[in-house]
Chain length 146, copies 2
């Protein structure tokens, strides 16, 4: 046997520590295939997820208010998106048993954390859109012209 056993940390302990570190640092690495965080990230960054969270960042909204705010979303997709975000604990759904029914959607604390960063990204893209458009024009001229 190697002399490793006489050190303060046995190989088994070292392995356990490494595993713990691996768990903390890598278990939810989005770059890894089949990692649950990849799915969660996709709910957040998906076409409608990002816009829905962005819209809710401004405050509580009802279903059809959201539908109008997120221009172009269908009933089906909005419903689907809200379910996914609610399940992930980013959005809180509060139904009032009135007639006609009224349902309010609000960001949870976790949802606000996420939407904060998301909105920063959205605003960044919007502000730099002219640069993007110029880059596209340059690219298309160089490539499409031939």
């Amino acid at each position: 046997m190697e002399s490793a056993a006489q050190t303060a940390v046995t190989p088994a302990q070292a392995t356990a520590q490494a595993d713990d570190r691996a768990f903390d640092d890598l278990a939810f690495d989005v770059f890894a295939r089949n990692c649950p965080s990849r799915g969660a990230l996709e709910h957040v960054t998906g076409r409608w997820g990002a816009l829905t969270l962005g819209a809710l960042h401004e405050g509580s909204l009802r279903f059809n208010e959201l539908r109008r705010r997120v221009d172009g979303v269908s009933e089906k997709m909005l419903s689907q998106t809200l379910h996914a975000l609610e399940r992930d604990g980013l959005v809180h759904r509060e139904a009032q048993p009135t007639n006609p029914p009224r349902v309010d959607y609000t960001l949870t604390p976790l949802g606000r954390e996420v939407s904060e960063r998301l909105l920063s990204l959205i605003v960044c893209v919007e502000e730099r859109m002219e640069d993007v458009l110029r880059a596209r024009a340059r690219y298309d001229e160089a490539r499409g012209a031939r």
Copy 2:
């Protein structure tokens, strides 16, 4: 002719000014349908776009290095993703006419700005993943149990 011509600002000019303001403030609103920024945002936040930008944030990478880093991406999708990001001016492609060929992909300054915010979002989701998982468990128990 109308007397509008004698005023300092003609109706046409007023309209033009309003349009300019609208252009500055709203032309790139991602919440509006058919806005070009929505497409750009989707390139950035798309399943592979986000991971590609995240990987490139750590430094320049070659095609197959990227493919390994972004676990699960196919050749085709990576190629497609890189083209879109290059066209939007977020990624710079540098091909060296050697044999075998060597192509390096790097973030542009604009790409770095975007990826910075994107990474903040990614890290946030990864760190809060346990909360998300707990929320899912609660949701499924309440809904799926019946």
